[in-house]
């Protein structure tokens, strides 16, 4: 009877360990900290660091976009919060926007971030109520970033210097 119990316990525990190994190889954490973050995400207990988020928001409002992005990345290391990813994308947009031309590299990174934000909120369209922003939905931001990446004859229109940043 005891041998049977040992068999069952051994099977259950070792299958759980095998599942852990598969999960580790699938998520590829780089540090022990990332292991715990990924475990929190898997367990559904993951939360962003609100202090870092607020600090990033104040940097964003002072137009210090790189510093803001650093703070947001610290606030959401697992990149699992749609709101934070939306703001990161917005910071790429604002930093990359120019009257004469758009920074293509920053816009590309912006598209990646906004795609992450959209993927993280599949149930309802992502909307951010922030009076400081001119675009409140991820779809608007994505369209704006993608337009910035497109090349067309309107790029040589001299009147485009009159356009405004959103």
């Amino acid at each position: 009877m005891q041998s049977k119990l040992i068999q069952i316990a051994g099977l259950v525990l070792s299958i759980a360990f095998a599942a852990f190994i598969i999960w580790i190889y699938a998520t590829e954490p780089r540090t022990f900290k990332e292991v715990t973050t990924s475990a929190e995400v898997a367990a559904g207990t993951y939360e962003i660091n609100q202090e870092n988020f607020n600090s990033a928001l104040s940097l964003f409002r002072r137009e210090q976009f790189r510093a803001a992005r650093d703070e947001w990345q610290r606030a959401d290391p697992a990149q699992r919060d749609a709101r934070t990813q939306f703001y990161i994308a917005y910071s790429f947009y604002r930093e990359g926007w120019g009257r004469v031309y758009f920074d293509q590299e920053l816009f590309k990174q912006g598209v990646e971030a906004v795609n992450r934000a959209i993927a993280l909120s599949p149930a309802s369209p992502l909307t951010i109520e922030d009076p400081d922003l001119h675009m409140h939905t991820a779809a608007e931001l994505k369209a704006e970033l993608e337009q910035g990446l497109e090349r067309s004859w309107s790029d040589v229109n001299p009147l485009k210097v009159l356009r405004t940043r959103k």
Binding site: Q2, S3, K4, I6, Q7, I8, A9, G10, L11, L13, S14, I15, F17, A18, I21, I24, Y25, E28, P29, R30, T31
Partner: protein
């Protein structure tokens, strides 16, 4: 032998078969693909390349031929279903541990990856046609993995280390113009690989003890009969 002795023996054997060995082999499967980045000092998990799965299949065949794994005794219609499932699970863990043991000593890419792969394939393929018992196979595997470990984690690591000495200069001269394209990892990677291989070989040794205790025919007799039949 008293009933208590028999019970203890059965319990210990169950612990070894169904708890210790699967956990040991799964730990090998976890650590076999783990490397530590040279500059970032972060974890890098390398999934087993397809070649290592092929090596693991060949090694499983060898383990069966040498009598370390006894399918007919461990899996059968006369055994309880749970025991069959537990034994199949043990085989699965051994398979992945074998693949990861090869992964830990196989250079990740470049010319050396193919050279090592060819050597492993050649050795394992040749061994399929040799007569083996469990002890000989264990010795052979210890030497195979030991040699690969020394070459990859000691010779090549010292060759590519930033402060490499005489060996680096000699190899640099000999291999001038040959792009080996081997990634550089932190020294901790070598320690992890050593621990992984030690665990793997320990697991196989425990498996050999476990197999001997199952009351099978003595290996020597089997060998003698085999030799007689071949004659």
């Amino acid at each position: 032998m008293t009933t208590t002795d028999t019970n203890n023996r059965a319990r210990n054997r169950a612990l070894l078969d169904f708890v210790v060995l699967p956990f040991l082999f799964l730990t090998v499967a976890l650590l076999g693909g783990l490397r530590i980045g040279a500059e970032s000092r972060t974890f890098i998990f390398i999934t087993p390349p397809l070649a290592t799965l092929l090596f693991a299949v060949l090694l499983m065949l060898l383990l069966v031929r040498s009598g370390l794994l006894r399918f007919q005794q461990w899996i059968g219609s006369d055994l309880p279903p749970l025991t069959n499932v537990a034994h199949i699970w043990l085989f699965v863990t051994i398979f992945f541990a074998s693949a990861q043991a090869f992964n830990s000593v196989l250079p990740e890419r470049g010319l050396l990856h193919w050279l090592f792969s060819f050597c492993f394939l050649w050795t394992l393929w040749n061994n399929q046609f040799s007569s083996f018992d469990s002890r000989r196979l264990l010795r052979s595997l210890a030497i195979l993995f030991g040699t690969a470990f020394v070459i990859k984690h000691m010779l090549l690591a010292s060759l590519y280390s930033p402060e490499g000495g005489l060996l680096k200069r000699v190899a640099g001269t000999l291999l001038q113009g040959v792009a080996l394209d081997t990634p550089i990892f932190a020294p901790a990677t070598g320690y992890i690989a050593f621990f992984t291989l030690a665990l793997y070989i320990t697991g196989l040794i425990l498996l050999a003890f476990c197999t001997d205790e199952r009351g099978s025919k003595p290996q020597m007799n089997t060998d003698l009969i085999g030799v007689h039949l071949r004659l």
